[in-house]
């Protein structure tokens, strides 16, 4: 029976209360451990398509008569348009339509950040479109930009009310402590840089807008664009069968989609609007920089008595305040916690979600601070973490649906024990050390999410759902889940996704929610199909349903009978067996979180400031693992991206003008394959017994969370230097080493 419930829905730490209709989730979970298909390392079902180029990404979409759009973007962080010659643009060769600030909400004559859209043109080629925009000859009154986040907080230029969390009595906690450590940490602005830049191709078929887009959120784009054009929601059909990465920056429609849709409407032709790499690095979103002033207080046995933090997030002109204080509030048991978070509104390009927004930044600060505390207490950092393990959610005392962080710590020990041997390998200027950090994050997913499955007379199953696979391998995971439940080989299952006109609603691929949201729906649909097949078989072979099962592509009976699935479904001719499944609710009154720990080994050249990450061991607890091969690939990707965050990536803005200086990939330095260390992945793989029929949580985000802190802690272990600012460039490291030497000199000079 469909049930209407009021529930708390979470995406990346943003909670909303909403009504949802859920169906009962009557299926028992599979027993723990690898099954026939689920839990087996499985190559991607679409790997060959991707590798051979057969997979059609938005960047590959070519429609007859397609025009190309280019967007005139503000060259200033804050300015007022004085003059703009759109007539000259209109008259340029190959131009088919031009729109300006009055024509679309996402275009403006008073840009508030570099790259803010001003006008757009559709032309026969991208080159013609760009050339035409050169003729717009805009004149600007350039205004003073607000760029400093601390100044913004002072002037109350904020995108949200300051967010405060105060539990227990922080001051009393401080007073009860034997040791108090305080430090300021900074994290930088980071850019997503997916391989496929943000882009859409829009085409009107009558009153329906057909929209190919590189997105993590087919249904969100559908609703956003439909609302913008005053259409019924299914007046927009969103298609994204393959996409080249998003990392959180492709959760919304984006100005390029609205521009393409409007230009397509005006020209009656398909229009592509694709960001260039430079636009991508300026306007497609970013992980906002943070300043974190943190305090940790503990008794001499390591028991935390107080945690406090003031967090300033430099959000840019738009965006939302990520849960940067989340790790401080939740990672450890501490009765007295006081945090305040400010979201500074600045004349800089808007932030966007980026792989565990808030927690990546907040974990860097907290987990470095905890190691500074361990050093002061002369306690083993791993032991300090164990002693402060949180048995329930500290923010509201809710029990966790499952938590195996202690098991992660236990497995981390083997890697942590290597530190003596690693340190001993220090040689000359190369100092070696080992550091660790813990991870907490959401990732439970939730309803609604739906799947349909149809099985035809050939016994093959097609899973149909309008889900997107952002490259994490969820298409493969869904095929595995359906095959497992149906008892058929993986090759007998097709997964058709990526089209809002051809399948039911699926969750956004963000917040590590796709597998935990869609997986249970697919299993539920498969169970519905299986039930029907067994009912048919029972009638066909005059047996009771309860003695029948589906295994290895056969209907088998308890007395040893076996009939191929085709033999049963072959009766159907053109009739089909149709199953549907929905994601059930999350347990009420409980908290669903993911956990983990990472141990990093580094070598540091103390003369030149070079840092080499030599090994990272990652142990994560995300419930049942559907595809161990896909999971280790997620962990590796997260750690590699985190190494970029830790060591080399940083968007640099000109402090005078607010213009982005690192617009190309030679200046914005993502790690190369040569920078990738040995990565050891271990997954606890214990199903969460309270979480749906599957017991799986998401793994997209957890692995990126603790790496930077583990690296910084390893650097301290190797050199004694406290690195408190990301990225840890050679400059940063040499400064930290100098500060450590200075502190040592002062310490030595102090009277005993």
């Amino acid at each position: 029976m469909a049930r209407l419930i009021r529930t708390e829905k979470e995406v990346e730490g943003r909670f909303t209360e909403q009504w949802i209709v859920v169906e009962e989730d009557a299926l028992d979970q599979w027993p723990a451990g690898p099954r026939t298909v689920v839990g087996q390392p499985t190559r991607r079902v679409d790997g060959v398509e991707r590798a051979t180029g057969a997979a059609v990404y938005t960047a590959d979409v070519q429609l007859p008569g397609m025009l190309h759009a280019a967007v005139l973007r503000s060259p200033h962080a804050r300015a007022r348009l004085v003059r703009l010659d759109l007539d000259a643009v209109r008259a340029a060769p190959g131009v088919r339509a031009v729109i300006g600030p009055d024509d679309l909400d996402v275009l403006t004559s008073e840009p508030c950040y570099e790259g803010h859209g001003v006008a757009a043109v559709a032309a026969d080629s991208f080159e013609a479109a760009r050339a035409a925009l050169e003729l717009a000859a805009p004149e600007w009154e350039v205004l003073e930009p607000l760029l400093d986040p601390e100044e913004a907080v002072r002037r109350e230029s904020l995108l949200a009310e300051p967010r405060r969390h105060d539990r227990g009595d922080f001051d009393r906690g401080l007073a009860a402590a034997d040791v108090v450590v305080q430090a300021e940490y900074r994290t930088q602005t980071l850019l997503h840089n997916p391989l496929e830049t943000h882009q859409s191709v829009c085409h009107w078929e009558g009153d329906t807008l057909v929209l190919y887009t590189s997105t993590q959120n087919i249904w969100g784009v559908r609703d956003e664009v439909a609302d913008a054009f005053g259409l019924p929601h299914d007046g927009v059909r969103v298609i994204c069968r393959f996409m080249g990465g998003g990392f959180g920056a492709k959760n919304d429609a984006g100005d390029y989609t609205l521009v393409a849709a409007e230009l397509a409407r005006r020209t009656g032709r398909p229009v592509r609007c694709a960001l260039t790499r430079r636009e991508e690095n300026v306007v497609s979103g970013n992980r906002n920089a943070t300043i974190q002033r943190l305090t940790a207080a503990a008794r001499s046995d390591g028991t935390l008595t107080a945690l406090g933090g003031e967090f300033v997030s430099a959000l840019g002109w738009d965006g939302w305040l990520g849960p940067t204080a989340g790790p401080m509030q939740m990672l450890y048991a501490c009765a007295n916690v006081r945090t305040v978070e400010y979201g500074a509104k600045l004349n800089l390009p808007p932030m966007a979600a980026f792989r565990a927004p808030g927690f990546v930044e907040g974990t860097f600060g907290l987990e470095c601070l905890l190691d500074e505390l361990a050093a002061r207490l002369e306690l083993d950092p791993l032991e300090l973490r164990r002693r402060n393990h949180a048995d329930s959610d500290g923010t509201d005392d809710r029990p966790y649906t499952s938590k195996n962080l202690m098991e992660c710590y236990r497995r981390a020990e083997t890697h942590w024990e290597r530190r003596h041997e690693v340190r001993a390998r220090s040689e000359g200027p190369w100092k070696r050390g080992v550091g660790m950090a813990s991870q907490i994050w959401y990732g439970g997913g939730g309803p609604p999410s739906y799947a349909w499955i149809r099985v035809g007379s050939d016994g093959r199953a097609v899973v149909v759902t309008a889900m997107q696979d952002i490259g994490t391998g969820t298409r493969t995971a869904m095929a595995q889940i359906a095959a497992e439940e149906l008892g058929v080989p993986l090759e007998h299952v097709r997964v058709e996704i990526g089209d809002s006109a051809r399948g039911p609603y699926s969750v956004i691929s963000g917040g590590s929610s796709t597998t935990p949201s869609m997986g249970p729906a697919v299993r539920s649909a498969a169970a519905d199909v299986k039930r029907q097949i067994l009912e048919i078989a029972a009638q066909r072979f005059h047996l009771e349903e309860r003695v029948l099962d589906l295994k290895g592509g056969n209907v088998v009976s308890a007395d040893g009978g076996s009939w191929s699935l085709e033999e049963v479904t072959g009766l159907l001719e053109d009739a089909q067996i149709l199953g549907k499944g929905a994601r059930g609710p999350n347990p009420t009154g409980m908290r669903v979180m993911t956990f983990g720990a990472q141990v990093a080994e580094v070598a540091v050249d103390v003369e030149t400031g070079e840092v080499r990450v030599e090994r990272v061991a990652a142990i994560h607890d995300v419930g049942r693992i559907v595809n161990p091969l896909g999971a280790s690939s997620q962990v590796e990707g997260g750690i590699i991206q985190a190494i970029g965050h830790a060591l080399s990536e940083e968007r640099l803005d000109d402090p005078a003008t607010g213009l982005v200086l690192t617009q190309t990939l030679d200046a914005y330095k993502v790690p190369t394959i040569a920078d990738v260390p040995e990565i050891v992945t271990e997954l606890v793989d214990v199903p969460d017994e309270h979480l749906t029929n599957l017991g799986s949580k998401g793994l997209g985000e957890p692995p990126i969370i603790p790496t930077a802190a583990a690296i910084a802690n390893a650097i301290r272990d190797a050199t004694g230097a406290d690195v408190r600012s990301l990225p840890i460039t050679r400059e940063e490291l040499l400064h930290a080493l100098e500060a450590a030497r200075e502190q040592e000199r002062r310490g030595a000079a102090a009277p005993a």
Partner: protein, 277 residues
């Protein structure tokens, strides 16, 4: 835009100047054209116009970095500088002649800020973001020269033969001035044809960068020993490749607040290069 492919150096030189630019590997020129930093009516392709190949100490200007990095005739410093430059794809396209002429990576210059090097009044990097910038010769412009091989050729005392003269690599470069913002002394229609690279007794190139591969030098140090004399050439520390006699010369560096760390790195790399010889 027109593309010409003259059959020899003489025709190429005749085709250069007046809005015509020489195109070799194109790894720097094509992005500069695309970004509107340099303009050209005609591109003169040099494939048939400049020599390519290595013959003892003589290296054709059209020789690619990929060819240099594996040739045993080439001194170690130059081989190592080529091998640590850019990526394999870029090294397979980029020529040593073009590499000597490559432009700074200063982000202000690349983003067409109206800076001093572009003919304007101020260096935006000095008051702005300059962690990749210069510690020497930075009074007017803080840009850093990005070429690894040029530093090696400087240390090796290489000579350059153009269509009209011969000069040392040290003489090829000059700090830009108010009158001319060029970093080389060559005429607009002058073509580098060949290098003569003396064989040292020993040489080495050491490079500090932001990641292990595919990054321009924060500091590159080339060292070459001829008998008991050691010469050093530095990349990434000045608007042009910079020669120093010893680490003591770093005492005269004029770093910006954000480039002081480069002095420390240069000191360490010079000491290491010296002991490697």
């Amino acid at each position: 835009m027109e593309l010409r492919r003259p059959p020899d150096a003489q025709h190429a030189v005749a085709a250069l100047g007046n809005g015509s630019l020489a195109l070799a590997g194109g790894t720097d020129l094509v992005p500069l054209l695309r970004d509107g930093i340099v303009r050209a009516d005609t591109l003169v392709h040099l494939a048939d116009a400049v020599p390519r190949g290595i013959d003892g100490t003589r290296i054709g200007a059209g020789t690619t970095l990929a060819e240099l990095e594996v040739d045993p005739q080439v001194p170690a410093a130059l081989r190592e500088a080529c091998a640590q430059a850019a990526s394999p794809q870029l090294r397979s396209m980029g020529t040593i002649g073009g590499n000597l002429r490559q432009a700074t990576r200063c982000w202000y210059w690349r983003l067409r800020f109206p800076c001093w090097l572009h003919g304007g009044e101020v260096c935006h990097a000095k008051a702005g973001q300059h962690r990749e910038h210069a510690i020497f010769g930075n009074e007017r412009c803080a840009s850093a020269h990005p070429s690894d091989p040029a530093a090696a050729l400087l240390a090796l005392g290489a000579r350059v033969r153009t269509d009209r003269r011969e000069l040392s690599v040290a003489e090829l470069y000059r700090l830009p001035t108010d009158e001319s913002r060029d970093v080389v002394v060559l005429a607009p229609d002058e073509l580098v044809l060949e290098l003569d690279v003396p064989l040292p007794d020993a040489s080495v190139y050491l490079k500090a960068m932001d990641r292990k591969k595919w990054a321009f030098p924060l500091v590159g140090v080339a060292a070459a020993r001829f008998g008991d004399r050691v010469a050093f050439g530095l990349a990434g520390v000045a608007p042009i490749p910079w020669a120093v006699d010893s680490a003591d010369d770093l005492d005269r560096a004029t770093p910006l607040p954000g480039t002081a760390y480069k002095v420390q790195i240069a000191r360490a790399l010079i000491a290491r290069a010296f002991s490697a010889l």
